[in-house]
Amino acid sequence: SSAPSPAVSPSPLCKPRRLYISFSDVGWENWIIAPQGYLANYCGGDCPFPLAAELNSTNHAVLQTMVHSLDPRGTPQPCCVPVRLSPISILYYDNSDNVVLRHYEDMVVDECGC
């Protein structure tokens, strides 16, 4: 579920957007003990030409936006994707009713880039 945006005017540029994942929404609440959900975020927005420095763009993205500006039909704009993610730990029951604490990498989007 995507929470409503903050009061400030939404930027169309590529950046992390708020996304809270509730484990009960996906039907996993009977085996995940904690957390019940977490702020996972997602990347959204445009990577327009010319790419600004704050957009964490790769050299490939710079060239792709240039080609896109010349040929919008043939070449798409670069994608807005996660460039830094962080881990979370999850406590859950396994199929043998053991309690497991597991560390999962790349669960929260911290930064996005083009």
Binding site: W28, N30, S89, S96, V99, V100, H103
Partner: protein, 217 residues
Amino acid sequence: LSRQESSLLKSLGLSAKPSPKSAVPVPPVLWRMFQRRKTQPRPQEEPDSCRVEEFNVPGNIVRVFADQGRFLPEGQPRGRLCLRKLLFFNLSALEEGERLTMAQLELQFHHNSYQPPGPGQVLELRLYPASPRGPPQPGRRPLLERSFVRMHKSLLFELSAALKDGKVPGGDLALVLEISAGDGGSPRSPCAGSDALAATSLLAVTLGRRCRARRRR
């Protein structure tokens, strides 16, 4: 959707969606670790997510297995031997490719900690490797020996070295625990306190296949 869910669960390292039959209480050690990880500030440097900082060992999965064993023999123990128990841990939940990096046995007692230990309350503990069906062969060397006083609420034993190369043969772990009266005990009640064994559990840290691949890289 169910096919998508299966592939999601697989990427999370689960072969199928768990459906717990009973909601067993969460061991306090796991709650403490979970809360600490949730509240600790994010370090400046990228943390090693394939290391369990609390125990300073490689790993990304921590499990607590309950003991499914039984007391041996069925009758009353005799002589200096106060208690003999088969400890049995079903480790079938360990997935293929996981490597055991730490195993810690915890014995919990329900002693009255306000009562100081008196003479005759020093007990000796021995732990033997066993088969799930019965006690160890006579003359086998114990995995570990320790003397303790009745006042301890909990005893921890590091078993990682005893479990060779992190492999658990047959997917299960069977041990025989013996508690006997120590030297200089009271002749009237040499085994006082040994009957207070309340629960036994095994905490296991493993390194999942993904982490192993990452570490190799």
